[in-house]
């Protein structure tokens, strides 16, 4: 059954349409890769799913999005964001808060833990999953803004994982990582998909081929094609898709 379902989603910023009728279902406990050239609307689709799009006063959204059959626009937005966590394209820790606070904040605000002990364990385990714990265990009180770019990226992975979300939106989560950490994050996602639904935005078709179960190709605000990753890569039904996955369309 589909965990997430987009029905005729349209988004425009001011007068310019950005998403022009997207229909897509995202199966539960799997990795769905969202591919497409720069500016095709990938990040925008993710922002709709956790309703961060509402922070943009100029954005107009229409159509429906369902999470477990429930229209997300009818849901309590805090509940939605507890269930749908996001790793952003550009690492965005809250720089003045400590490393620990960055991961703990959401848990505290949403009262997801009881007591300091449990909080610490949740934060630690999230940092471990994000492959950051060993590097920061001795300086959890340091402002997050002082971490390197790749460390900030992993901190944001930890922040999202701390929620133990149902849906994880990952917007190019390995863009700032070296091959070694990239491999670790990819392995992590393969592990995580047993417990959650992952939407992985990637610029890089080989990554989608490596770890995704389903793939969707987005072009100029529309889904050109989507289906099992194997099919998309081996027998694309559309010339644009073929060009994209073979690296001839950017």
């Amino acid at each position: 059954m589909a965990k997430v379902e987009f029905k005729n989603l349209r988004v425009s910023f001011g007068a310019s349409p950005v998403i022009t009728g997207v229909n897509l279902s995202i199966p539960d406990r799997s990795i769905t890769a969202l591919m497409g050239p720069s500016g095709s609307g990938k990040s925008t689709i993710l922002r709709v799913l956790n309703r961060l799009i509402e922070l943009y006063p100029e954005a107009r959204v229409s159509g429906e999005v369902y999470l477990d059959g429930q229209n997300i626009f009818d849901m309590n937005v805090l509940e939605l964001r507890r269930k749908v966590q996001m790793i952003f394209q550009i690492p965005n820790p809250i720089p003045n808060l400590s490393i620990f606070e960055n991961v703990a904040l959401g848990l505290k605000l949403n009262r997801l833990v009881r007591g300091r002990g449990e909080l610490f364990e949740r934060v630690k385990s999230a940092l471990e999953k994000a492959q950051l714990w060993d590097e920061v265990r001795n300086r959890l009180d340091m402002p997050a803004g002082k971490l390197s770019g790749g460390q900030q990226q992993r901190l944001c992975v930890a922040r999202a994982l701390a929620f133990e979300p149902e849906v994880l939106l990952a917007d190019e989560p390995t863009a700032n990582l070296d091959p070694e950490n990239t491999a670790k994050v990819e392995a992590l996602f393969l592990e995580l998909k047993k417990e959650m639904t992952i939407v992985l935005v990637t610029h890089y078709p080989p990554q989608a081929a490596r770890i995704s179960d389903y793939a969707a190709f987005l072009y100029k605000g529309q889904i050109v094609e989507w289906g099992p990753t194997k099919d998309i890569f081996t027998k694309p039904g559309h010339e644009l898709t073929e060009k994209y996955v073979t690296g001839r369309l950017y």
Partner: protein, 307 residues
């Protein structure tokens, strides 16, 4: 003489300028901070020279004693310093929460299209002549506060014109200054950081608090800007503080005086006395040293908090 008055009234503005520097880069802060400290240091020396006659006569007693008796040429400025401290404290205690509230309301709660209008309105109140505030304090605020306070606690305020009245009036006058600085910082919270705050499930109110923490150096900047204004305000305070420059009091519900208003009220006839001008300079000196002490605290806070 008029030049002197202008220079004295400049000090709080220097302190205020110092507040604004909190929002600048570190090296800039150091550089301008050093410049301002140097300027204040220079003024200190100048005031010391001018105040010398009374210091030579009374020693440090002029700073530590109270009373203002031109006939016997006996002057003390302690009551004025106390007045400055008390009115500023009342003003800051009221103004900072109001400024934070105004900043959050305008930037976070009002719909985006009303932000500009309300922001400009608040900024506009900062440009109103202080004498207008003084008159309003004289005819409206003073009597209102008196009846309000006396309703809560009988016979607390025997006059409408007290240190408390001055403090409340000052709070109203300086709130827009602090709010403007806080709002300026608030607008600088990067969009990605704002998204992070909401993505982890913050409510609007929680997001506002987290953002305020992010812009805490602007809050500190707003604090010092407002404090400088409060300490330096002359006309409006002189109109509502009660003009009691004789008797020492620490009761904010009694009439009092501040250093700035003492200078403003006594300067016109100071030249007729031998020691009054030096005594006023002693007051200016005290205000300056006080300002320096505040700056020292500020520097300590910056360095400790690594702002």
């Amino acid at each position: 003489m008029l030049g002197f008055l202008l220079v004295v009234l400049l000090i709080p503005y220097l302190i205020a300028a110092y507040g604004l520097l909190f929002v600048k880069l570190r090296w800039g802060l150091r550089l301008f901070g050093a410049f301002i400290v140097a300027t204040i240091g220079l003024l200190t020396v100048m005031f010391l020279v001018e105040a010398y006659p009374i210091i030579a006569r009374d020693g440090v007693a002029v700073f530590l004693q109270t009373g203002w008796d031109p006939v016997r040429e006996s002057y003390g400025v302690l009551q004025a310093l106390t007045g400055t401290v008390l009115t500023s404290a009342v003003a800051m205690a009221l103004a900072m929460p109001m400024a934070l509230g105004v900043a959050v309301t305008i930037n976070e709660i009002l719909p985006a299209r009303w932000r500009g209008v309300f922001g400009s309105l608040v900024d506009l109140t900062a440009t109103m002549p202080t004498v207008i505030y003084g008159l309003w304090g004289l005819f409206v605020l003073g009597p209102t506060l008196q009846s309000l306070v006396n309703t809560l606690a009988r016979d607390t305020m025997t006059s409408p014109y007290t240190l408390f009245t001055a403090g409340v009036l000052l709070a109203i006058m300086i709130t827009p200054y602090a709010a403007a600085v806080i709002r300026e910082g608030y607008a600088l919270v990067p969009k990605p950081v704002e998204e992070a705050i909401y993505a982890v499930g913050a409510t609007r109110f929680e997001a506002a608090l987290i953002k305020l923490r992010y812009v805490r150096n602007y809050i500190l900047g707003g604090f010092f800007l407002a404090l400088g204004r409060a300490m330096g305000e002359t006309v409006a305070v002189a109109m509502v503080v009660g003009g009691n420059f004789v008797r020492f009091t620490t009761n904010i519900f009694e009439s009092g005086i501040t250093i700035s208003s003492l200078i403003a009220l006594q300067f016109p006839n100071a030249a007729s006395y031998q020691y009054m001008v030096p005594a006023l300079f002693a007051g200016a000196l005290l205000l300056t040293l006080f300002g320096l002490a505040i700056n020292a605290v500020a520097i300590y806070i910056i360095q400790r908090g690594q702002i």
